[in-house]
């Protein structure tokens, strides 16, 4: 134990005196968390919270205009600005990007709808022998023309959502009008001609979350804080591999190997020292998410209720990161080689693992590859705890994968050393 604690103490002192290394280990992920959370705040809101600015010119005084406006409001994805400007001006404002969407409802739109429906009903009743056959029913109906203008570059998903909302509103009104006209034409004195169309299919939103913590959205903070914390923890491979190579180059490694006792104890001591740094990094980054980011106008990081789950995941992530550092330090001969490979490989694993952008927005093939990134396992575990109210049990599988990864890395280092010797 003396050898173990002596090694931990030695490596911690060396780390604390390496100001450049400390900056990389602590300031870099802290800066990344703040910058990326701010940058990605808007795109995350695009998906979940942002309201699309919509310019509505309602020239209709009837129920169709009101129904469309009501439908858009109920969709909750648009922020409606009503205006009475001309069609040309609407086009200019949308094109200039003042509004994402413009909708122009023509004058007499309701009347036009009624006329079309009336003609349709008359025609159908005449065919059925119920209408007044002396009336002319072969008039051609002209579809009502609603103009929808989209700003250049409007996302396809936004367009689809708006069109769907408009079709739903107009369709409901069309059907109601149709029913009213049929009722009126077939009406007897006792019948009620003012029935309101019932919805025969009702879509009810079922809430799958049971606790307030589970109702959290994956916003910029909830994504970026754990993501860049994990990235920072894995970036320790550069410092760690550098330390191993330096000790090998300056003869310290040789001296240690001439000392009694197992070299594995020394290795565990080194891993433990760096693991402590990883855990400290994790703690500080989470505190940044809770106490610093809100001052930048960002949401406060919600960390769920499983403190044990967080510690467990941070520990397993640290073990995986430090073991990866041991492997790189063992295999590569120079600090330049190890730092280049270490940095590039961590960036690639981070990109695949959903650190830069969430995995669910990536192509399917990349999503499959993400399953092999230790950073993805770690991030998924943190998301389970932070967003889904997960506990230690929920994240066991992810953490076992991280420990398995660490075992493979240490195994490679051990056998490489053995063969080399």
């Amino acid at each position: 134990m003396l050898r173990l604690f002596a090694t931990i103490k030695k490596d911690l002192i060396i780390l604390l005196r390496d100001r450049g290394g400390l900056a990389i280990m602590f300031l870099m992920p802290m800066a990344m968390i703040m910058i990326m959370a701010l940058i990605q705040d808007a795109p995350f809101k695009d998906y979940q919270e942002l309201k699309i600015p919509l310019l509505l010119v309602n020239n209709d005084t009837g129920s169709l205009g009101r129904q469309i406006e009501k439908g858009l409001l109920e969709s909750k994805i648009v922020e409606i600005t009503k205006s009475t400007i001309s069609d040309v001006e609407v086009k200019q404002k949308v094109k200039a990007g003042d509004y994402e969407i413009g909708i122009i409802i023509p004058p007499q739109a309701t009347q036009s709808l009624h006329n079309n429906v009336n003609q349709f009903v008359s025609k159908k009743l005449a065919v059925a022998g119920l209408g007044d056959s002396t009336k002319k029913t072969d008039t051609v109906t002209t579809p009502l023309d609603l103009q929808i203008l989209f700003a250049p570059g409007t996302k396809k998903s936004f367009k689809a959502t708006i069109l769907s909302s408009l079709k739903q509103s107009s369709s409901k009104l069309e059907t109601q009008t149709l029913l009213d006209f049929f009722s009126k034409r077939l009406a007897t004195e006792k019948s009620d001609s003012t029935q309101v169309l019932k919805e025969f299919i009702n879509f009810s939103e079922v809430n799958t979350v049971e606790t307030p913590a589970e109702a959290l959205l994956l916003n910029s903070v909830q994504h970026n804080v754990p993501a860049w914390t994990i990235f920072g923890m894995f970036f320790i491979v550069i410092s760690m591999a550098g330390s191993i190579i330096k000790e090998r180059d300056d003869g310290s490694y040789t001296r240690i190997r001439t000392m009694p006792g197992s070299f594995i104890t020394v290795l565990i001591g080194k891993v433990s020292a760096y693991l402590l740094v990883c855990l400290t990094q994790c703690l500080l980054m989470l505190l940044v998410g809770i106490y610093v980011l809100p001052h930048l106008g960002l949401p406060t990081l919600q960390i769920g209720k499983s403190f044990g789950g967080i510690v467990f995941t941070a520990f397993c992530t640290g073990v995986a990161a430090t073991s990866y550092g041991v492997m790189i330090g063992t295999i590569f001969r120079t600090h330049q080689q190890s730092s280049t490979f270490g940095a590039v490989s961590v960036v690639i694993l981070a990109a695949l693992g959903g650190i830069w952008v969430p995995v669910y927005v990536m192509p399917e093939m990349i999503q499959t590859l993400a399953e092999f990134s230790p950073l993805y396992w770690s991030l998924s575990a943190f998301h389970k705890i932070f967003l889904n109210g997960g506990s230690i049990n929920t994240v066991v599988l992810y953490n076992l994968k991280l420990i398995g990864f660490a075992a493979v890395m240490l195994g490679i280092s051990y056998f490489y050393n053995k063969v080399k010797r």
């Binding site: 003396l2 002596a6 030695k10 002192i13 003869g251 040789t254 000392m259 009694p260 006792g261």
Partner: protein
Amino acid sequence: MTVHKAIEVKNLVKIYNGSQQPAVNTISFDIPQAKIVGLLGPNGAGKTSTISMLCGLIQPSSGEATILGMSIHTHLQEIKKFIGVVPQEIALYPTLTAFENLHYIGNMYGLKGESLRKKINEHLEIVGLADVAKKRIETFSGGMKRRINLVAGILHDPQIVFLDEPTVGVDVQSRNLITEHLHLLNHKGTTIIYTSHLMEEAENLCNEILIIDKGEIISQGEPKKLIEKNQTKNLEELFLKLTGKKLRD
């Protein structure tokens, strides 16, 4: 009670992976206890490979060696308690102080507490570095680093010390202090195995010389006797006579 020799080597061979020429080719020699033995040879002669096998850093391809009667094949961990190694490199942590470096190394040998602190201070006093014990190694001169490097290898009072060019690149004063310290250790009964390219230093310091070339021992004995036997003026002339003047690297 059997008094073992410090080192006994029999037919020791080392062939590195991918090489056809042995780095050490079937060498045999004995070193009694409490001797200062100089292992001399041109670059690539096999000195470091021999010492590395005796310290357990690399495994021999064949042959046997015992340290204080214990086989390097079966009792390596036990042997490590009785040997000290002073590598050619300054094998210290530059950002740690002299005291912190020695404290860590002492801990690695199982030394701790007040006895370790006392031992460190004694050694620092001897090598003239007590005043700078709390200064970082990175601020030291080459000679100061060499002296600390020496202390790091002998702090645990080993019975046998292996030194790989311990005085390379240091000024005369530091070299003098190091060799004096080695003499002092030897007087206390420590066996010292020493490699160097400084023939005058080896001639003055060593009781016995082993000259190795191309992985084989080409001469062994007391420096004065070897010089007389080969009718040369000094050890350097003897060395050149035996190994030739052709450059080796």
